[in-house]
């Protein structure tokens, strides 16, 4: 178990290094950092001096290690657009994205799992077919379209919910701003969370259904039935437990995906999160923000993957306890 954890940790580190390399290459070689920082009328001599001062003439490896050291210290340089430290910019926007992502993930799980179980157990009922139809729509419609349609129907036509911004937020200890504590904050959260979570919800539903159908076909379920176990014991005691084990791990991985997809939702709803920041960076070629965002996302993903892997080992006794003793 420990060996496994160490191995996965080294792998995670490896991925981070690769991403850091890409990030660094982008940062350093795409476009000219100096040109971005100074005005057009700066003389070549001054530019050269600046280049020297920034350490841009040093060997690449040294620049790379400097980059990594700074990254670990959360120093990502200055944004081209806003002329402010990137780290501070991202930090101010992080809570908005994380809150949105978590609420979406909860929504996706809370709705997706029961729907999946139902359609797995009762395959041919009208309700099951209805769920499957909804899932198809959820998978086919692009996230932004769902957002627009929701805005159109709920905000424009019915006027029930706000369609942009976070509403009022509460500042917690200067570190985190939350929208969960105000009414307008919560209302503003609803449409974006549904938009962001719908795709994940349908994925989860289909995953649970698929797993459920597979499990119901196994020999141990057949044997459980042959032993006379009640329908409830077979379906929910055995089948459900075996279904959920892979589902939980895959869902954990999806959390990272949600954070990335937040870019789209934040754009549609003008939600002031990291995703919107990143998009503006892409549009305006603000390399420092792009590079920093990449590293941060990679870090989040890798961490989530790592935790999920450990979780999987903890839950499946076959991996945890090793193979048969003769």
């Amino acid at each position: 178990m420990i060996a496994f954890a160490i191995r996965r940790f080294m792998q995670a580190l490896g991925v981070m290094l690769v991403v850091a390399l890409i990030s660094f290459l982008m940062f350093r070689f795409v476009g000219d950092p100096v040109n971005q920082l100074v005005g057009v009328d700066t003389s070549p001599a001054e530019r050269e001096a600046l280049r020297q001062a920034l350490g841009l003439n040093d060997p690449v490896m040294i620049q790379f290690s400097r980059f990594i050291v700074k990254a670990v210290q959360m120093d990502f340089g200055i944004s081209y657009q806003f002329k402010q430290p990137v780290a501070a910019l991202i930090a101010s926007r992080l809570p908005a994205t994380l809150e949105l992502s978590f609420v979406s993930a909860l929504f996706a799980l809370a709705v997706g799992v029961p729907m999946g179980v139902y359609t797995g157990l009762y395959r041919n009922t009208l309700l099951a077919r209805g769920f499957l139809a909804i899932s198809l729509i959820g998978v086919s419609l692009p996230t932004f379209l769902i957002g627009i349609l929701l805005i159109f129907v709920v905000s424009v036509h019915l006027g029930w919910l706000p369609s942009f911004g976070r509403g009022e937020t509460v500042n917690l200890g200067g570190v985190w701003t939350t929208g969960l504590l105000t009414k307008s904050g919560l209302l503003s959260l609803i449409l974006p969370a549904i938009t962001l979570g719908l795709f994940q919800m349908t994925l989860i539903m289909r995953l649970v259904r698929g797993e459920m159908l597979e499990v119901l076909r196994t020999d141990y379920i057949k044997f459980a039935r042959a032993r006379g176990l009640s329908r409830r014991a077979v379906n929910f005691g055995h089948a459900l437990k075996n279904t959920l084990v892979p589902v939980i791990t895959i869902t954990g991985l999806q959390l990272g995906s949600i954070i990335a997809f937040a870019i789209i939702t934040e754009t549609v709803f003008q939600w002031p999160g990291m995703g919107l920041l990143f998009l503006q960076a892409v549009q305006n070629v603000d390399i420092p923000i792009m590079a920093a965002y990449l590293l941060l996302i990679a870090f989040l993903f890798v961490t989530i993957n790592f935790i999920v892997d450990l979780l999987y080992v903890a839950v499946d006794p076959r991996i945890r306890l090793g193979e048969a003793r003769r």
Partner: protein, 351 residues
């Protein structure tokens, strides 16, 4: 005495897009209390489907289309799902082929046992656990108490099958259906498991329906044996009779194909030419007729039903007692030379 299991004219159909397949066609047999009936046949002959049909676990769209199945005299083929569920485990137990996939890998053995015990008996958790431990000891698992908290993958194949047997027997069913219980096990372990199964069932007075393609197991363990071919009964009778004096040409072919230690090692194994027909392409008349050395005109036109043939019953026109339907002389003589006697002749003792 009422037979534990009585199957009459069972027909199992599987609707497919190419038409309706008859996986089992007009099958009838009995199993007496405490008896071990072997059910043999090639892959696809319908052995497993018979077992699944009896316990009510046919995979849809397969279904019982006709016939009766009686357990201890009462009909069970027409029961609703809840009633059938109450019979499963308590009155009919079933064991499957692969013990690894038969057990839920995420649950401890002890939990799976106590769950099954508590489904059929009102006991306290404590009492159920004690009973589980006793069952494990009965099937020969050492250090049973500690093993209750183990997971299936921590057992070897033979041990796992013992656990499976314990699970199937924990409610003392009157009939145990064992579907290829040793096929997935090492040869060295097979004999132990079969012996265990036989001992436990005879101790409990349970009947056993032992489904297998391994004639060796049947010869050692069964009291009677029934031979299936393309979903139909070919021959049924006491083990010694069927093995030593097979009365159906197919059974005869099967027995001849088994190499014997006493035989000549250089002699080629006898083979039955051709292959068992697929369910969608069963020939008219007797299903075996294209491969049969003794087939005559009637075999291709009508389907034979089991006739008495010495100690066993064989579904072959060679044994039709009706004098108006005697097989042609040369055919009868060739068959008799093989020990397959025509109806009014006594079988030759050839061994």
């Amino acid at each position: 005495m009422t037979a534990t299991l009585s199957v009459r004219n069972l027909r199992v159909e599987i609707p497919t897009r190419g038409g309706v397949l008859r996986a089992i066609d007009d099958l009838s047999f009995d199993i007496a209390p405490g008896e071990v009936l072997g059910v043999v046949g090639e892959s696809g002959a319908g052995k497993s489907i018979t077992g699944s049909a009896i316990i009510g676990l046919l995979e849809p769209p397969g279904r019982v289309a006709a016939g009766e199945i009686r357990l201890g005299g009462e009909r069970i083929d027409d029961l609703g799902p809840d009633q059938m569920r109450r019979i499963r485990g308590r009155r009919i137990g079933m064991i499957f082929q692969d013990p690894l996939t038969s057990l839920n890998p995420l649950y401890r053995i002890g939990d799976q046992l106590t769950e099954t015990i508590l489904t059929h008996e009102r006991l306290s958790q404590r009492a159920a656990r004690d009973k589980a431990q006793k069952l494990l000891e009965e099937v020969g698992i050492p250090a049973a108490g500690a093993r209750l908290s183990a997971y299936p993958h921590q057992f070897s194949g033979g041990m796992r099958q013992r656990v499976v047997i314990a699970l199937a027997l924990c409610a003392d069913p009157e009939l145990v259906i064992a579907d290829e219980p040793t096929t997935a096990l090492d040869v060295s372990v097979q004999a132990q498991i079969i012996a265990l199964l036989k001992r436990l069932c005879s101790e409990r007075g349970a009947s056993v329906m032992l489904i297998t393609h391994d004639m060796g197991v049947i010869a050692e363990t069964a009291d009677r044996v029934c031979v299936l071919y393309a979903g139909r009964l070919a021959e049924i009778g006491p083990v010694r009779a069927v093995v030593k004096h097979p009365q159906h040409p197919y059974t005869h072919g099967l027995m001849s194909a088994i190499p014997s230690l006493a035989g000549d090692p250089d002699e080629e194994l006898a083979q039955i030419p051709g292959a068992m027909p697929r369910l969608g392409a069963i020939p008219d008349g007797c299903a075996f007729n294209p491969r049969c050395d003794h087939a005559f005109a009637r075999c291709r036109a009508e389907r034979p039903h089991p006739y008495p043939a010495g100690a066993s019953d064989a579904a072959c026109f060679l044994h039709d007692p009706d004098p108006a339907h005697r097989p042609p002389e040369p055919v009868a003589r060739a068959a008799a030379a093989r020990g397959i006697a025509a109806a009014d002749e006594t079988p030759e003792a050839t061994s």
